[in-house]
């Protein structure tokens, strides 16, 4: 069993225009940089993307946005893309913002065969408008449905050719859950290891969820917001 293909270009070559695509990452952390580059290179159009953020101007999904590839987007926060506002206002892109935890749980449901679930999040807000609500016990909840995609593009730290993946620190974020919720999951890894090298107790994404893999050619990994210790001293804050 060998799921590794030679290049990011080859990995994404059968994705069709108009596909629904999940992309892992939180901000610019743990995003599939190389697969995004390959998507942009292919010049796919009319994509429906699902991702917590949308990169920044000039990096990550921002490149897809600028290339006009995205027809609609579901996410929880898109504050770093100045171009986006105009596109939404002009009706060039349909934007749906939902709570981050509801986004994660809807994707988890999509991967886990749960078509719908009740959640307290968003009750009494615009998020609940038009949705069924229900009293269970002493609280009222909103009904939310599962999210699935044609393709999930995820970024892991190490992986083996069976598709087993591990992630590094907070670069894990949405990657493992998205890997479970697409018809075809494509993973890019920083390092390919031999099957058995990853301790079976440490594997986060079992290979069953991964259809295709590629070793990323390079990683820029920009840090979106620099708030380092010297600056903290001035601001009087920490976290």
């Amino acid at each position: 069993m060998n799921k590794v293909v030679a290049s990011a270009e080859e990995a994404v070559q059968d994705i069709a225009n108009g596909s629904t695509i999940m992309l892992g990452g939180f901000g610019l952390c743990g995003i599939p940089e190389n697969l995004i580059a390959a998507l942009v290179k292919r010049g796919l159009m009319g994509l429906h993307t699902i991702s917590n953020n949308m990169g920044v101007d000039g990096f990550g999904m921002g490149l897809m946005l600028e290339a006009g590839m995205i027809a609609s987007h579901i996410g929880s926060y898109v504050g770093e893309n100045r171009r986006l506002e105009q596109m939404v206002l002009k009706g060039e892109l349909a934007l749906t913002l939902i709570p981050q935890g509801t986004l994660a749980e809807r994707i988890r449901a999509g991967g886990a065969g749960i078509p719908a679930f009740y959640t307290p999040t968003g009750l009494g807000t615009v998020v609940a408008e038009g949705k069924e609500t229900r009293e269970i016990g002493d609280r009222t909840y909103v009904l939310e449905t599962a999210l699935r995609a044609d393709v999930a593009l995820v970024k892991a730290w190490k992986g083996d050719r069976l598709g087993n993946l591990v992630y590094r620190k907070t670069a894990r974020n949405f990657n493992p859950v998205m890997a479970t919720a697409a018809r075809v999951t494509i993973a890019e890894v920083e390092e390919l290891v031999e099957p058995g090298e990853l301790d079976p107790d440490h594997i986060v994404t079992p290979g069953i969820y991964v259809k295709r893999m590629v070793v990323g050619r390079e990683y820029k990994k920009p840090i979106e917001s620099r708030f380092i210790r010297e600056k903290m001293a001035q601001a009087g804050g920490a976290a």
Binding site: Y77, V78, V88, I98, N175, I223, F227, A239
Partner: protein, 218 residues
């Protein structure tokens, strides 16, 4: 000591030994700097980390290790990482002892608005709606009035809501306001001003606690 620092310092005193706490972006983040000595508190970051440490020196910042504000952070001994679905299961499931968030408006019902202003660009709610729905105690940390001098503590929020009946306490540079079933109650007041002035700068009706004390911000 400016108003923001006063707010952060007062909330820091409310954090107890053994607490698991999520701090929102901005002012709430400052709370971590003023924790009492000798207590163990573990900070969660909703992008998937428990045990968030202080920011790193610039030359060792790790792009794979950031907080929910997308700022580089460090580990403590005993940190752990998990995926977004697990992070919000933790939040929604009522496991966080406390969530401290900023706000644009809070009202007498404990309703909170902190994510969007109609007509301005919609950036998104991020994890705020989940945090207010899930944390055992939600403390709002904000300056009492807008820069234009308008009250942020209203009879009824006018901005789109983040959550309804979710806020337990409001802390501003002027005092501590508890959300009770009967409305808002001023329980602590900053040095140098009186309850009448706090009420004058507040649109919502404030009951004054019979046990009103000074807001200590050591």
């Amino acid at each position: 000591m400016n108003g923001k620092e006063r707010i952060a310092r007062r909330i820091a005193r409310e954090v107890k030994d053994g607490y698991y706490v999520n701090l929102g972006i901005g002012l709430p983040t400052m709370v971590a700097a003023y924790l009492p000595l000798g207590i163990d508190v573990i900070f969660q970051s909703e992008n998937g980390m428990l045990g968030v440490g202080i920011p790193p020196l610039e030359d060792v910042a790790d792009p794979d290790l950031i907080n929910a504000g997308k700022q580089p952070v460090t580990e403590i001994a005993g940190s752990s990482y998990f995926a977004s679905d697990e992070s919000f299961a933790m939040i929604r499931g009522g496991h966080m002892d406390m969530s401290v968030l900023g706000a644009m408006q809070v009202d007498e019902q404990g309703n909170l608005a902190n994510w969007t202003i109609p007509g301005k660009m919609v950036k998104g709610m991020g994890g705020a709606m989940d945090l207010v729905a899930g944390a055992r105690r939600v403390i709002v940390a904000m300056e009492h009035q807008t820069k234009e001098g308008e009250s942020r503590i209203l009879r009824q929020c006018t901005l789109p809501l983040t959550g309804t009946h979710v806020v337990h306490d409001i802390v501003t540079e002027l005092g501590w306001i508890r959300v009770t079933p009967d409305g808002l109650m001023l329980t602590e007041i900053a040095e140098g001003i009186g309850p009448a002035e706090v009420q004058a700068r507040t649109e919502a009706k404030l009951a004054i606690s019979p046990d009103l004390t000074a807001m200590v911000v050591v």
